[in-house]
């Protein structure tokens, strides 16, 4: 009879499963006085913890050590970001890549020299004409401003005042072929492999 009661009690207990698995066997451990009393887990009924005075000191010491390490790291000057354009890639020093230099005939080298001289003359003339047009335009503007000054001071001042709306100025320069009207460019995928350096 008592055995059956205990069996049912143990089954009830196991069915009311709580997290602490120590509730399973009631009779086996002496920590649990009665089933019907409040279920308290182990730590709650233990003695209050003694706060060791060494602990906060230890924590403070740890923090100071970390701070010192951080300061030491910060004192090191930051690594300079390498300029990738100034580093010649290893491919350029590969000997298998050297081309055979062609031998130029005398006429060919003469032709090249003459063409270079012709080109320098052409470019000089072009530059002179460009500078002349620019100076002409500047002169025209200066004269226009003089005339405006004669007309009225107010307008002159308004004309000479700087214009803030022009910049930023954007204009698409000439391309080889004109843009196609209503052109849908095909979408392309690309992998961006640029290296980003942080200091």
């Amino acid at each position: 009879m008592a055995g059956i009661v205990c069996h049912t009690v143990s089954r009830i207990l196991s069915s009311q499963a709580s997290c602490s698995s120590s509730v399973v066997a009631v009779r086996h451990s002496h920590w649990f006085t009665s089933v019907l009393s409040l279920k308290t887990s182990m730590p709650l009924r233990a003695e209050p913890k003694k706060k060791k005075k060494v602990d906060p000191r230890r924590e403070i010491m740890m923090k100071e050590r970390l701070k010192k390490k951080l300061k030491r790291l910060e004192r090191v000057p930051p690594e300079l970001i390498p300029i990738e354009d100034f580093i010649t890639p290893a491919k350029c020093f590969d000997e298998t890549r050297i081309r055979d230099a062609p031998k130029l005939s005398f006429e060919e080298s003469e032709r090249r020299a003459l063409l270079l001289k012709e080109w320098s003359r052409y470019k000089y003339a072009q530059h002179q004409t460009e500078m002349d047009t620019i100076n002409e335009a500047l002169e025209a503007q200066r004269q226009a401003l003089d005339e405006l000054k004669l007309e009225s001071e107010e307008l002159y001042k308004a004309a000479v005042s700087p214009d803030t709306d022009i910049f930023p100025f954007q204009h698409e320069g000439p391309s080889y072929t004109p843009p196609i009207t209503n052109y849908e460019a095909p979408e392309g995928k690309y992998n961006d492999i640029t290296r980003v350096y942080t200091q």
Binding site: R99, I134, A159, Y176, I180
Partner: protein, 237 residues
């Protein structure tokens, strides 16, 4: 006193090269090629050629070949080049010189390689003259605002322009013909302002009142005195 606007449509297409420029470009390409190193693509081409010639030989032993190139379908660099050329041919760029007749002065799609100036035909006294768009100055506005008004007042033209600065780029003064000369106003002064055409709807403008003109063609349209002053500040490439 009048304010006028010199509206310029900048070139859309690059200019053709002169013969010396062509020659020099060829020379530069050649010299750069001679002084350069072989690229990855070129190395690959050479390797493929060498491998092909090795295969053609009688004593060809395929085991001597490297692991990757044995008995497999290889895409040679030459094949890649051919496929790229095919793809390029599929794309049709727009024509450099447009179908629009060069003589049709009212279209702004005329000479895409040059910068064009807008001219307007106006009644001055008893004559009809081609001028840069101008309008009379009113009290209380700056000359630049006059120029902007001159641009906006053109009938039927939806032109968006950016004005370059507050200062005028040139001026022109003329005397009224004797029948219009009133007391006190002997003539007029016109101050020109430069503007660049930013965008516009491609609406054809009226043929007889608007013209888009290159710098060389200006002499066919403008009076000599007027032309002399206007040419000073128009810079054409």
């Amino acid at each position: 006193m009048h304010g006028a606007v010199c509206l310029q449509r900048l070139p859309v297409v690059s200019q053709d090269r002169s013969p010396i420029e062509e020659e020099f470009m060829e020379l530069m390409h050649q010299m750069e090629l001679e002084r350069s190193l072989l690229s990855d693509h070129e190395l690959r081409l050479l390797e493929d050629a060498a491998r092909m010639s090795r295969k053609q030989e009688e004593d060809y032993d395929s085991d001597e070949e490297e692991e990757d190139y044995r008995d497999k379908e290889i895409v040679t660099a030459q094949d890649l080049e051919d496929t790229w050329e095919q793809k390029l041919k599929q794309f049709q760029p727009a024509l450099r010189s447009q179908v629009v007749d060069k003589k049709d002065v009212s279209s702004s799609e005329r000479c895409l390689a040059d910068s064009l100036i807008l001219l307007v035909k106006k009644d001055v006294g008893s004559q009809k003259l081609w001028l840069l768009p101008q309008i009379q100055w009113q009290m209380g506005e700056t000359l630049r605002q006059t120029a902007e008004r001159a641009l906006a007042s053109l009938p039927g033209a939806d032109l968006k322009a950016t004005f370059l600065g507050n200062a005028p780029c040139g001026f022109y003064k003329y005397k009224y013909p004797k029948d219009i000369q009133k007391e006190g106003s002997v003539g007029a002064k016109v101050f020109f302002f430069k503007a660049l055409l930013s965008s516009h709807k491609h609406l054809p403008l009226e043929k007889n009142s608007f013209a888009w003109v290159k710098k060389d063609e200006l002499q066919d349209f403008l009076k000599p005195e007027y032309l002399k002053q206007v040419r000073r500040f128009i810079m054409a490439p």
